[in-house]
Symmetry: none
Subunit: 226 residues, 4 copies
DNA sequence: TATGAATGAGAATTCATTCAT
DNA sequence: TATGAATGAATTCTCATTCAT
């Protein structure tokens, strides 16, 4: 019974009109978990419906499409993240302190919203060219600018090593931090702030032992403090 | 046409029987690229056939299934990688030198086989429980043991900072290194050895400037960012 | 397993590459009949598959979509019709003879291709704005121009009554002729050329008896010479 | 709220019980327009609800089903039309005058109720076998009898040409007249009575110019109609 | 080796309809 | 009267895979 080319229907409820928030949020949380664990394409609307206790078709009472669910989850997450980071970089503290907080905040976010983070990591690549998901690239870029800004500032005040390319450094940090969502277990024994501590220790001072610097060029690493 | 001893129907040519090797390899390369760029589930056998200039059904003369293609690509890649790393860790050199070479080798691998690396990164998660892909987890674990072994050795000889958990450190390094496949462009202006240099600089000595070090692990970390 | 936004696949076989013509034509004929009798939206691809003896999904081996089937049927029909009419209007005969042949040709077409005609009648309205079906409106317009051209020519040579608006006259004729597809039965006792004869009699001379003119409005339509 | 004798659940308010008449009529008008422009199957209850400013589910407080809406619209229209025509044919005037008025009345109806007419034209075919819509065929038949009766009467009194089959003539007239709903614009410059005038001119006297007989083949084609 | 036709199991989405509130 | 959540059946279309030629 499909028309030859049906005109687009009027929109359904969206996130911002505050209607049916309860059920929507519930379903979105379920979808986020499934998308994150199985991947978006591998998750069927039936999976979501089953988990939510309704028929898959009934999901369309709440959302326009499976894609729209993904968009809503990602948008919520990314706008939140941007705001969180913007607050940090706006602080009147030395770059080094701000970078630390960006890192800590990231690990905390992974702890609090592992699904959204995993989702972002997994799908943002495939979303690059899709118009409805332009915001992903945009916000990513804004975030990148904040982080790189802090790194550059840190180099300027002499806190950070200048031999490092800020862009490249940002990527190294970003990848190490966010990819941890793939092995970090929120309920595991390794707490997120401990992971952050460890990462910051490595990031700040490097892997080489402090007095290994002299040994670096090959000489006397004898005094090695351990 | 009847062979003296016909092969059991279940198994077609495999990589090692040296038949039709040329066409097979060609198709596998195409598949690897498509799998890597679009993702495995999003790549259809028709995509592969189109790119190879044959009909999708004809692919089944070469391979048992789409999954079998993925398995072959990944197995080739991972066994190679394991061998490569095994050579490095077997060298009679200080841990630090060996770790550097592991890192450099990884970036070089990304340069040489970006598709396989991307594939491994994207799909290995979803492959965790699939019997045919058990080798992925196994080899990953072997590789992890090699790297962690080097890190531990480095700590034992005093080259590497001991405050760092070796497992955690491995993950931080692994994630930063391999995730670079997502932004590294083999034909871009940023050469892979330069990327490796930059990463090793960060990894070795950390982000903090050398004269900031006194504030660092030095006692009075009052100004310390946290 | 749907990708977020799959790129459009390469085209399948089309009508003009002359491949698989046999099966294609068979299926198209079935589809035409179903579309014509049930209406396009009310015909499901399952209906077509059932009638063709294959699964509905298998139709997509031959055609890109249900819509594409409709387009092919209509295009074949309309281009043919245009050619047929173009031949007639190009003849070096008086307008009256050409108009008669247009009418007779139309009834003959209804006899020969009732499904395509019914389809055109039923669906062309809904197809107005759809890009893939622009040809429908275009060819319709070309045909209209041919007919109206003949009518105008007939008026100019004095064959046709000048009190009639040519456009309007065309529509009256067109609608009476083509709508007959809805009641004409190709295998019925009423042959198409008889129907054409009757229609032409009415069209030529009108409903009023030849000597009924005097009774007309009662007044002085004396010049009504027949 | 409990009525003394609650109506059986199967039947809700109908057109004739005078309840909620205003809203009902409003909704029916909306439905008629949508059904007429998009076609009945292509119109969703949601479309109707949207246009009426209520949710689609709420329509079921007024009507039993989407089909019931269509039935009500068509029945109203057709009973009215039958009555209108019945009045005309009952007049004590010559057949010719009555036929003219039937035609004029039809064009006027198209002008006044274009949606209902279009609806009738579009859907009556598909409704042929549906029990709830038997009235459509019945009334159509009654109307046909009236028209054919007038035509036959006209032939008997010598007003109408006798070489024409009355049934066939009726169909030609009916199709030309009613199909005009598809191009007639109630608010256009071409008024319905002008259209009727033009059609009647063509119908009465035919397309051939009054003195065209002699001009025809040049000779004495008195027996004209070819 | 390859084609071309087909299978069969899903996929997302639509939609008339119901019903508790 | 109307809402909002849900049903359940159907729809178009996709896709890995098979197999006779």
């Amino acid at each position: 019974m499909s028309a030859i080319r049906p005109e687009p229907r009027t929109r359904r409820r969206t996130a911002s009109d505050g209607t049916g928030t309860a059920r929507r949020a519930e379903i979105l949380a379920i979808a986020a978990e499934l998308f994150a664990t199985r991947g978006f394409p591998q998750t069927t609307v039936r999976d979501i419906g089953d988990e939510a206790g309704i028929l898959s078709g009934s999901l369309y009472h709440h959302f326009d499409s499976k894609e729209a669910m993904l968009a809503e989850i990602l948008r919520d997450f990314m706008e939140n993240l941007r705001a969180r980071f913007a607050e940090v970089v706006a602080q009147d503290r030395p770059p080094r302190a701000r970078l630390d907080e960006l890192v800590r905040g990231s690990f905390a976010t992974i702890h609090q919203q592992p699904h959204a983070v995993a989702l972002y990591q997994k799908e943002s690549g495939a979303l690059a060219g899709v118009p409805e998901f332009r915001f992903v690239g945009q916000i990513s870029l804004e975030i990148e600018k904040m982080w790189v800004g802090v790194i550059v500032a840190g180099q300027q005040v002499g806190d950070f090593r200048t031999g490092l390319d800020p862009e490249l450094t940002y990527r190294f940090i970003r990848d190490a931090v966010w990819t941890s969502v793939q092995w970090y277990r929120p309920r595991g024994r390794l707490r997120h702030d401990v992971v952050a501590d460890q990462y910051l220790l490595l990031l700040h001072s490097g892997l080489l032992a402090d007095d290994a610097g002299s040994a670096d060029a090959g000489s006397t690493s004898s005094a090695n403090g351990r």
